[in-house]
Structures are given as structure tokens and as C-alpha cells.
Amino acid sequence: MQLTKETLRKIEEVIPRYPEKRSAALMVIHLVQDELGSISNETCVWIAEKLDLQPINIQELITFYPMLRQTPWGKTHVRVCRTLPCALRGSYATCQKLESKLGVKEGHVRDDGEYSLEFMECLADCGEGPVVMVDEETYENIDEKEAEKLADLLLKDKLEKSTEFTSYEDALVSAPVKIRKISPRKRK
């Protein structure tokens, strides 16, 4: 397991924020997963040692929380909201459209590792459903038709620069903080 200096630095910075080391577990796992894409058994042991815990204390988190992973998602991970308000505006059709366009079944990673697709529970943006997240960006009102266009742009790697789709994050009045728009493992 190899982590960049930057990640190691952030880990050292996060741990002392808490009165008890164990509290830092989720934040440390996030930092590691952001870089490696998932948490292997070996990584679990490493994190546990870092926090003076047993590996099972980390394992039990990885296996509980929906967003923690034992195997990585694809290079681009697409999330679609499944819950009632979004479903009432057509999110099931959105998800099916993305399945066919991206060539990957919901809950899976495409064979070449490029894309993965996940049906999520409420993403707290229900007024603008169906809500689709591409990596860390939130796209609103993505019905079946919009999903087709969005997927086309995504497949051509033109989504980020397109003027047709502006994410919730990009629409904010201020310049977004975006330290890391593309996850580091993609940059490599």
C-alpha cells in the first residue's frame, strides 16, 4: 500500500482534531479511499495501527457504511437517486437510460473499469429531481432525455466543460472551493 505524502500529511492533521483517536476513523478512511479507491484488508490493518485499534474496528465500518468500499468503483462513478421524490419525477427511467448508454448495470463496474453506476437513497436535493451525481458533482432535473445527453457528453469526456449542464456546485454564486475536481486516482 502506497499513499502520497499529501494524503499522509492530511491523515496526521485530521487525527489530533478529535479528543479520542478512534473518532478519526471515518475521516482517515475517507482520505485513504479517495486515493486508493477502496480499502483492502491490508489497508484496514494499516489504518487500525494508525489509530491504535484492531483491524476489526475498521472492517466493521467498511462493511456497514454504504459509501465505504472493499473494491473500487469505476474511474468515473455515477450515482442516481432512487428515493420517492426523485422516482416521482422519473429517476428509474434515468437510471435505465444511463445503464444502456454507459454500458454498465446498476450496482456494477464496467468491465474496462471506466464507469460504474449506483442507485442511491435520497441525495437531499429532491426539489430538482431526478438527481444524478457524476463523481462529486450534482446534476439536477436529469430525466430520461437529459440523461441521454449527459451520458453522451460524459462518454466524450466533455461534460465538465459543457455549458449545457451546470452542476449544483458550479452554479453557486461564489467560485467553488473545488480543491480536487477529479479524484486523484484519476489524475495519475
Binding site: 482534531r17 478529535y18 479528543p19 479520542e20 478512534r22 473518532s23 478519526a24 476513523a25 471515518l26 475521516m27 478512511i29 475517507h30 489509530l51 485499534l53 474496528n57 466493521e60 465500518l61 456497514f64 457504511y65 454504504p66 459509501m67 465505504l68 450515482r79 432512487r82 428515493t83 420517492l84 421524490p85 422516482a87 416521482l88 419525477r89 422519473g90 428509474y92 427511467a93 442511491m120 437513497e121 435520497c122 441525495l123 437531499a124 436535493d125 429532491c126 426539489g127 430538482e128 429531481g129 451525481m133 462529486e136 439536477e140 449544483y168 456546485e169 452554479a171 453557486l172 454564486v173 461564489s174 467560485a175 467553488p176 472551493v177 473545488k178 480543491i179
Partner: protein, 452 residues
């Protein structure tokens, strides 16, 4: 999404959020007078702040509507243990998207509210527990905290007052149960978010690290700042008695213009919200049902009558459109205003499918500690899913009710009720639709909208 204020709204919390000349940076917040209240508050006695919050009557905006001032009073100060403040920014109740607007667009308001609250309860440290799907939200908060620290609005020796309180952003990892306050605390301790057995009923007695802890929602904590600016008595004049202040309502589902809207409590009815503020239903549709307070609240049927006596003795006889939007209105109608998430369904909705969708949510999110909840939610999902797959039986309605009734009141946390209430209300109020499913044998072809 930027949502401009609609004419009748009274925006206090969202006053600046959607202003094109306003950003989430500290310069904007200070330009509008931000952090002045904090500096005044630090010159007051902590108990005085608590008194104002109590006088304001402000009720928690996270779901249960418990008076914040009263909760603060429960704090165990005798033990001498450190006190913690936690902001619940997990926002995961389906239909709710108000805290998001505050976090992304006006984070400093939350930080100022939190620091005033932290000083009032003399917290040693404060945390913001934010759901992990708010990737950018967490970064915005971290940036805002950095900005605030540089100007001594939080951290060490705040504004030279001698009071210090660090503020830390903690990210969840996609589990709804982390919104339940004791689950949240377990999660913050680095464990699985299994909610704790009650008593103690309030983390104010035993919370984070077995120390007295206050957990408040994002919107509640923002209100603290405004209460202090106005004074508790003035704040109490906004809205209605026992329903003070404004509320941010989130409308989703099948209306023309969904969105978030801040109104004084009780300023409008459910009908006015749906038909005036949100522009009504799609052309040619009629109202079928409304869930008034996030998916955990009991569903209201469009043609139901609600009658009874309010707490103050006045009698009421309402149709669904007459229900006042405050804390007590939806409660009087047998449901609750919960987190303020209003989900609208029109006549194209197959209620059995809607039920199946909701059940899938709860089956996915149960933490699994209590057998009735873990197994019950799973069975409710299985039964409704089977019904939608064309294999409904006439006895399913009663079966669903019996499963739901065996969850309610038999679990460690209120998730049990949150999962049972939708089923109980859907099945009893739309019994005919559930029976019909069994008779027609097949999923109705007229319904192209897939919900499960």
C-alpha cells in the same frame, strides 16, 4: 439550484442565500453584519443566552420539533465533564433539502450560530456532522472555518474573550441512521452508528464520550443567531404561539415548481403552498396524496377530512388544503411536519408502488440492531415489491399492517416508527388500491411511471 425569494416568503435564514451578489465567503457575510452578534454574545453571561433561546420558544428543525432552549436546560453541568456541541448536518430524511442551501450558500451563518450556542452551553468542542454525499459542502465548511479562525471567530480565545472552542467538520459515509442523534454520536466516536438504548433520553445527559452533549439541526443553530439579534421575545412574535420563527419548507414530487421556501410558521396552508407557491399540479392532474414532513411522516389522502380540537381548545374541520403549515397543523391532522419535506403525489401515482419505494428505503437503511426493525422492514419491502411484480394477494394489506404494527414501539430508536408509519398510513388510507392490486393480478398498465 438558485431559487429566488417568492413574494410572500419571509426569509430570515435564507435572506442572503440566493442573492447574486452574495457568496459563501466571509467577506460577504461580514459585509451583511455577520459575526457582530457573536462579539456581543461573548460579552453576555452564557445563561442569559440560554434564557433568550428559551423565551424564543424555538423548536428543533431536525424532525422532532423539541424546544431547543429546553433541551439545553437538560445539560448535566454538575458532573464537571466537558460539554460537546454537535450540529446535525446529516440531512437524509427523504424530501428534505434545506440544510444543503445553508451549508453551500451561507456557511458562516451556521458557524456564527454554532459559536453562540457553544458559548451559551460552554462547550469544550463543537462538531459538524455532515453527510458524505455533500463533498463540496464539507470543503465549503472547512474553508469557512479556516476563514473564521483567522479572524478569531472560532478556535482559541475567541475575539479575546478568553473562551475557546474548536470547530471540526466530520463526514459520514452514506448511512441514514447517522441522522438519529445517538447513532450520530456513535458514528462520531468511530463506531458503527447503532443508536443507543434509552434512557438516558437525551444526549444532554450522556452523549459523546459519555459526556453531556447537545445535538441540534443546522436550521435550529442558525436560528440561535437571529434569536439573539432580535431578542427572545421579539423572535417569539414571528409565527404563532408554540410555533415560533420561520420554517424552510421543501416541496418535491409532482408539482410544477418544487423548491424550498421560507415562511413564518403558520403563514400559509398546505393548499396555498401546493397551488399558489408551487404553481399547482401538472396539467390535467389531480391531487392524490401528500406526505407532509419527510417520508417518515404519515401520508395524507387528498379527500380526507381532518377534525378535532387543537391544544388551545379551538375546534377544526379541515380538508387537506386547509392544514396550516407549522409544527402543530400536520400533527393535528394525524401526521407531522417532521423535517419540513412535503412530498406531493398526483393521480397518476400507483400508491402501492410508492409504498414499495418507501419500504425499499427503510429496508436499506435499518441499522439492524433490533429484530422487529431489521426483519420487519425487509418483509415490508418484499411484500410490496411482490405486489408490484404482479403477484399481489388480497390478504397483503392486512399482512403489511400486522408487520408494521409489530415494529412500532418495539425498537431502540425512532427509526422503527419512521418505517412503520408510512406503511400503516398508506395501507389504511388506500386500502382499496392495495386490494385492487390483488384483483387485477397484474401491474396496472396505465401507469408508465416506475417507482420500484
Amino acid at each position: 439550484m438558485i431559487k429566488k425569494k417568492t413574494p410572500r416568503e419571509r426569509r430570515i435564514i435564507l435572506k442572503h442565500a440566493d442573492d447574486p451578489n452574495y457568496s459563501n465567503r466571509i467577506q460577504c457575510y461580514q459585509r451583511e453584519g455577520g459575526y457582530k452578534m457573536l462579539s456581543r454574545a461573548l460579552k453576555m453571561k452564557p445563561e442569559e443566552i440560554g434564557e433568550e433561546v428559551l423565551k424564543s420558544g424555538v423548536r428543533g428543525r431536525g424532525g422532532a420539533g423539541f424546544p431547543a432552549g429546553m433541551k439545553w436546560k437538560f445539560l448535566d453541568r454538575k458532573s464537571g465533564k466537558p460539554i460537546y456541541l454537535i450540529c446535525n448536518a446529516d440531512e437524509s430524511e427523504p424530501g428534505t433539502f434545506k440544510d444543503r442551501q445553508i451549508i453551500y450558500k451561507d456557511p458562516h451563518q451556521l458557524i456564527e450560530g454554532m459559536m453562540i450556542a457553544a458559548y451559551a452551553i460552554q462547550a469544550k468542542q463543537a462538531f459538524i456532522y455532515i453527510r458524505a454525499e455533500f463533498f463540496e459542502g464539507a470543503r465549503i465548511l472547512e474553508q469557512a472555518i479556516d476563514e473564521a479562525k483567522k479572524k478569531a471567530f472560532c478556535g482559541n480565545d475567541i475575539l479575546g474573550s478568553g473562551y475557546s472552542c474548536d470547530l471540526v467538520v466530520h463526514r459520514g459515509a452514506g448511512a441514514y441512521i447517522c441522522g438519529e442523534e445517538t447513532g450520530l454520536i456513535e458514528s462520531l466516536e468511530g463506531k458503527r452508528p447503532n443508536p443507543r438504548i434509552k434512557p438516558p433520553y437525551f444526549p444532554a445527559v450522556l452523549g459523546l464520550y459519555q459526556c453531556p452533549t447537545i445535538v441540534n439541526n443546522v436550521e435550529t443553530l442558525c436560528n440561535v443567531k437571529h434569536i439573539m439579534e432580535m431578542g427572545g421575545d421579539e423572535f417569539a412574535k414571528i409565527g404563532k404561539p408554540n410555533n415560533t420563527g420561520t420554517r424552510i419548507w421543501c416541496v418535491s414530487g409532482q408539482v410544477r415548481n418544487p423548491g424550498y421556501f421560507e415562511f413564518e410558521c403558520g403563514a400559509l396552508t398546505l393548499g396555498e403552498m401546493i397551488f399558489d407557491v408551487c404553481g399547482g399540479l401538472m396539467p390535467g392532474r389531480s391531487l392524490k396524496a401528500v406526505i407532509p414532513g419527510g417520508s417518515s411522516a404519515k401520508v395524507l389522502r387528498a379527500d380526507e377530512r381532518f377534525s378535532g380540537k387543537l391544544k388551545d381548545g379551538t375546534e377544526f374541520d379541515w380538508g387537506i388544503e386547509d392544514i396550516p403549515l407549522d409544527f402543530d397543523g400536520p400533527m393535528a391532522a394525524g401526521s407531522m411536519s417532521g423535517s419540513g419535506g412535503i412530498i406531493v403525489m398526483d393521480d397518476t401515482v400507483d400508491v402501492v408502488q410508492a409504498m414499495a419505494n418507501i419500504n425499499a428505503f427503510y429496508a436499506h437503511e435499518s441499522c439492524g440492531q433490533c429484530t422487529p426493525c431489521r426483519e420487519g422492514c425487509l418483509w415490508m419491502r418484499k411484500i410490496t415489491k411482490r405486489m408490484c411484480a404482479g403477484d399481489a394477494r388480497e390478504e397483503d394489506a392486512d399482512l403489511l399492517l400486522s408487520v408494521a404494527n409489530q415494529i412500532e414501539g418495539r425498537t431502540i430508536c425512532a427509526f422503527g416508527e419512521a418505517a412503520a408509519w408510512p406503511t400503516q398510513s398508506f395501507v389504511s388510507k388506500f386500502r382499496d388500491d392495495f386490494i385492487e392490486k390483488a384483483k387485477t393480478g397484474k401491474p396496472e398498465a396505465k401507469e408508465p411511471l416506475q417507482l420500484i
